[in-house]
Amino acid sequence: MTIVAGCDVGSLTSKVVIMKSGRIVGSAIIKSRPKPKESAEVVMQAALDTAGLNMDDIARCTGTGYGREKISFVRDIRSEISCHGKGARWLLPSVRTIIDIGGQDCKAMKVDGDGRVIHFVANDKCASGTGRFLEVMAGVLGISIEELGMFSTGSNAPVTLASTCTVWAQADVIKFINSGVPFADIGAGINGAMAKRVAILANTVKPEGDILMTGGVAKNTGVVNTLEKLLGRKIKKTRKADPQMAGAIGAALFSMEKLKNIPGGGE
């Protein structure tokens, strides 16, 4: 059986997925190091360890993400947009619209039945509307990103934040804390501000069919719930794998496709 891998080196996290016969046999996620090459090597070793494999066992590996061109062990490189499309299709075969919020940008895309991207838009702003935005805000509140995600449900009066600029939003959050606004309202305001920025992007591609969120922010229920309200549509959940791994899954699937196209190369 051929074993393939996908390596997604993002700005905040790096991910590797190892697949065999269309199933995930190993994976790992780490905080990205300053050098993409190093991130890739560390996360690959971690994934190999979970699968009990060696580098030599990997028949082919595709790189994606911001650091994709710096990875030493990949044969092919694909843009993360294509990889997220492919990976999302694997996570949820009925998916047609994908919202991917990564560490430093946010994309909305539409895919066909094969997970091929037919239309996409990406944010061209600063960190607002990205994972980094939430990270900075969580930092100001002194809580974890996961805890931040829990806010929203307990708030009836979310604050309005300066959401077009991360620096100003940060100043606002500090001010709210100092004036004693409940954390739940601040947290809900942060998640809401984030969701609103993402909704503009999502509405630009005119969502169709099933929607799936990928990337780390997919795990923030506060953002997801608010986004559902703004879009007036349910965002599907998947248990098949961590949605943050979608890019790496897509990359692994591309490796598989490449091998299939080489005579005697695949299963």
Partner: protein
């Protein structure tokens, strides 16, 4: 090609230096609505001002506010640094809100940075409509401009000289039209980067020299082999762009070739020749105000869309990159409409917002371009 490339990657290229050394005058202008033929006829070298080679923004940001396009900021930055010291005059045009404010910002910066404002620092009030009274205004504006040039530089711009200049510029226009035909070939033999360099060069080189070099280059091109590999044919449109590295980013190391563009620095309406008979001022006015339509003219969307369709068809364009500089609402919003209408016709589009100047955000832009090329596949 090296000749053009060298000419357009430096603000003061060798030809400008040589021109100055011979004791002749140079005037800078800021928009495609200026007829350079007028300066040519006066024996002055017209140079379209560009904000390339910036390595900071401390002067640009000191006068312009934060929500302003980086193109005029880069121009101001370079002016403040003395990079335009070769200019004997500057002509400011209200191309858009940000560009017309270059007038005040440059003059005010001159209060803090000695000697950066040439004595001849003028405003050329191009109207936003070409209907009868708009055209009359523009004609008068050209006449006033000629008077001001004559007064300042002690020259005489005669009808005969103007007609001769139009003839000279037409030669270049004809040659560029031939280049456009070559780009439309199925197996294209010239990169978009090269063509872009060649067209920009026309705005910063002495015209006779430019025409000569263009002829030489075309001769060389006609004998050249097609570019290697299967290429995806792209068109680039939108905000002002004169950065060769933007085109290199699209073409180098990818399977893409830019076969058309609709930019105010590229081959926009260069194929249209200006009639040499009749009143040369009227001919110039009509050409520059009527045929080179930019979104600043408002309400001309259908005309511009028709032009894009024509180019797409002629050059076999497979995907369109619609770029706009941040805060350029004119192109930014028009790009939204183009995307709606072109995608409805099955032409993939990529909207890209960027900053003008040295490409510092190549990773972000490259990611989008790569994904777009994968999408076109």
């Amino acid at each position: 090609m090296h000749f053009f490339y060298d000419a357009v990657t430096r603000i003061e290229n060798h030809a400008i230096t040589r021109w100055k050394q011979s004791g002749k005058k140079v005037v800078g202008y800021t928009c495609s609505y200026v007829p350079p033929e007028i300066f040519h006829a006066a024996g002055i070298l017209p140079v379209r001002l560009r904000g390339i080679e910036t390595d900071g923004m401390e002067i640009g940001d000191a006068y312009f506010g934060p929500f302003i396009c980086s193109f005029p900021k880069c121009l101001l930055q370079q002016a403040g640094k003395g990079e335009f010291s070769f200019l004997d005059g500057v002509l400011i045009i209200p191309g858009c809100d940000a560009m017309r404010r270059l007038d005040e910002c440059w003059r005010k910066a001159g209060e803090d940075h000695q000697g950066i404002v040439p004595t001849w620092f003028e405003y050329f009030d191009v109207p936003h409509k070409s209907e009868v009274h708009g055209m009359n205004w523009f004609v008068q504006e050209i006449r006033n401009l000629i008077e001001r040039i004559e007064r300042q530089f002690g020259v005489s711009v005669t009808g005969t000289a103007l007609r001769e200049s139009i003839r000279e510029y037409n030669r270049g226009r004809r040659l560029l039209k031939t280049v456009e035909t070559l780009r439309a070939e199925k197996n294209v033999r010239v990169s978009g980067t090269d063509v872009f360099s060649a067209t920009i060069a026309g705005t910063v080189l002495p015209r006779e020299e430019y025409t000569r070099q263009l002829e030489k280059w075309l001769e060389d091109l006609s004998g050249r082999d097609p570019l290697e590999g299967e290429k995806k044919r792209l068109m680039v449109i939108g905000s002002i762009a004169d950065e060769i590295d933007l085109f290199q980013l699209i073409e180098n190391g990818t399977d893409a070739v830019v076969v058309a563009e609709n930019l105010c620095f590229g081959v926009r309406y260069e194929g249209n020749e200006i009639p040499v008979n009749g009143d040369p001022i009227l001919s110039l006015a009509r050409h520059y105000l009527e045929t080179s339509v930019c979104p600043r003219m408002f309400g001309k969307y259908k005309q511009r869309l028709a032009l894009l369709r024509e180019k797409i068809e002629r050059a076999g364009v497979e995907g369109v990159i619609l770029q706009n500089i941040r805060f350029c609402d004119l192109h930014g919003s028009e790009n939204g409409l183009f995307q709606r209408d072109l995608e409805a016709e099955g032409i993939p589009c990529l909207r890209l917002e960027r900053e003008y100047g040295p490409l510092k955000e190549t990773g972000r832009i490259k990611l989008r371009i790569d994904a777009f090329l994968e999408q076109i596949a």
